[in-house]
């Protein structure tokens, strides 16, 4: 008897995205450019994070029409974002036959206390995390993939590096603990004990871990893969640069051949200007997206 929407089917798609680049797109033309440049999936949204940052106001789920147009224009998986805790937006996306839902801090949170109960949905979810405890809380709610939060829309990789190191350091630390010490670790992480035990045994998360938030260059993509990311999300970094198609191809190349500096150097030639970046110290606490969610 066939079974749909099992956890294995949900994480199965995340497994198939590994080693690839998921690109933010705001219309069908950009989606086509992303697919033709080797993206393994696209993230459909109204405005890329750097524009959300600039425009301010409330950022919400994309319009269903735009999502349908993007679905019709490409054959790769189409993802879309919902506000943290906004399960009705997630219901709408699921009704549109979306392939993956990102419960994202890039949009304005709808619930300051609770994330979505992701087990309630057939669609798989990806969620952002800044450290291992946060990653495990999202898994406890049913996420099928974890990504670093980074600091979206800044073109600055420093926060993604911090988050990826925090998560992998947390995983390594659990591996050094005895079974007696794991319940205390779970308490300190604020994470379900069962997941803490699972991660300690595997030496890795039970789902794929990707990087997001700040990738602007091929070398950024390679850096994150070498730090343990199993794939990359690139938001503003591609379509806010001078030559999106070439930069997209180069970031795909760097994500595959992340251990081959000569290839990355060759891919990085003649790309034109990267997106303008933002230094963290110029970004006030209220403008930081990574603090959204818990």
């Amino acid at each position: 008897m066939a079974e749909e929407a099992t956890f294995r089917v949900k994480t199965g798609l995340a497994e198939m995205l590994k080693g690839g680049v998921i690109m933010d797109v705001v219309n069908a033309d950009e989606a086509k450019i992303a697919e033709d440049s080797g993206a393994c999936a696209v993230m459909a949204l109204e405005r890329v994070p750097s524009d959300i940052r600039r425009d301010g106001g409330v950022a919400r789920m994309s319009s269903p029409r735009m999502i349908k147009e993007i679905q019709a224009s490409v054959s790769i998986p189409v993802m879309a974002k919902v506000r943290i805790g906004h399960f009705a937006e997630a219901q709408v996306l699921e009704s549109l036959n979306i392939d993956f839902i990102d419960e994202s801090e890039v949009l304005t949170p709808a619930d300051e206390s609770n994330h979505i109960d992701k087990f309630e949905f057939k669609a798989p979810f990806v969620c952002g995390a800044t450290n291992l405890g946060e990653a495990l809380r999202r898994l406890g709610e049913g996420a099928a993939m974890i990504r670093s939060k980074g600091e979206a829309g800044t073109g600055n990789i420093v926060e993604a590096v911090r988050h990826m190191r925090e998560i992998t350091k947390g995983i390594r630390h659990l591996g050094t603990l005895s079974s007696t010490e794991l319940p205390t670790a779970a308490k300190e992480l604020g994470a379900p004990l069962e997941l803490v035990r699972d991660v300690a045994t595997r030496g890795w998360l039970p789902v794929p871990l990707f990087c997001a938030g700040g990738i602007a260059t091929p070398a950024d993509a390679a850096l994150m893969m070498q730090l343990g990311a199993e794939g990359n999300f690139v938001g503003s970094g591609i379509f806010k640069s001078d030559d999106p198609a070439r930069r997209a191809k180069a970031i795909v190349e760097a994500t595959t051949h992340f251990n081959d500096p000569e290839r990355i150097a060759a891919a990085s030639e003649d790309l034109g200007e990267a997106m303008p970046g933002i230094e963290m110290s110029t970004l006030g606490e209220e403008s930081r997206l990574a603090g959204r969610g818990w």
Binding site: M16, G19, G20, A41, N97, D99, H257
Partner: protein
């Protein structure tokens, strides 16, 4: 594999997709598994797996890395190839042309229609295989000389032509490693035959390889 068998060296195309789990399954099935990212990685392989992932991404990655000719050469030498999900598409008549089939992408639907089900696969003993189908393709048309090994919902989901086998599901996503054991066994047998044909005992070859 018996003790006298050659331990096969099997490459897994590591351009994009679910290659890491294939490597783990191959190692537990007794093969020496390696990642394939460059043409050099294809040298000396006894078998090659084309994994799941996004077929458009993988096809472009093969071209960008200049792997196409090396994979065709591997196939011309009669060495075994296993394509899973996107790997089945990459191997078909419209892509690398390793097997005379055409495929339909995302044939069962988008992710919400992805599923797990039992599949009887000809040549795999011990009961049905638990198939995980993720935005899976099916085989649309088969040429002469292609043997359909499994069907589901009225469509072929596994096929073989000579040393090339394709399945539209993901044997690497379950703990059942029968398909990997079968593939490692056929890569080992083909390597043994090749080496015997070269007038060399498999043991000598293996020994020489260790010294390389």
């Amino acid at each position: 594999m018996g003790s006298a068998a050659v331990r096969p060296k099997i490459g897994v195309l590591a351009v994009q997709g679910g290659f890491a789990t294939h490597l783990a399954h191959l190692n537990s099935a007794g093969a020496a598994a390696v990642e394939v990212r460059t043409p050099d990685d294809l040298v000396g392989l006894d078998g090659l797996i084309l994994p799941g992932g996004e077929s458009t991404t993988i096809t472009m990655g093969i071209e960008a890395a200049g792997l196409e000719e090396g994979i065709r050469e591997h196939h011309r030498e009669g060495k075994p190839v296993l394509g899973t999900c996107a790997g089945m598409i990459v191997a078909d008549r419209d892509h690398l042309g390793l097997i005379d089939i055409t495929t339909r992408r995302n044939a069962f639907g988008r992710q919400l229609a992805s599923f797990e089900d039992e599949v009887e696969v000809e040549g795999i003993d011990g009961g049905p295989v638990h198939g995980v189908f993720i935005r899976a393709p099916w085989v649309e048309t088969v040429g002469p000389g292609v043997e359909v090994l499994a069907e589901l919902r009225g469509h072929p989901v596994a096929a073989r032509q000579g040393p090339v086998t394709v399945v539209s599901f993901h044997p690497e996503l379950t703990a059942d490693d029968r398909i990997h054991r079968w593939f490692a066994g056929s890569a080992s047998a083909a390597a043994g035959n090749r080496r015997a044909g070269e007038g060399e005992e498999p043991g000598e070859q293996a020994e020489r390889r260790q010294q390389d």
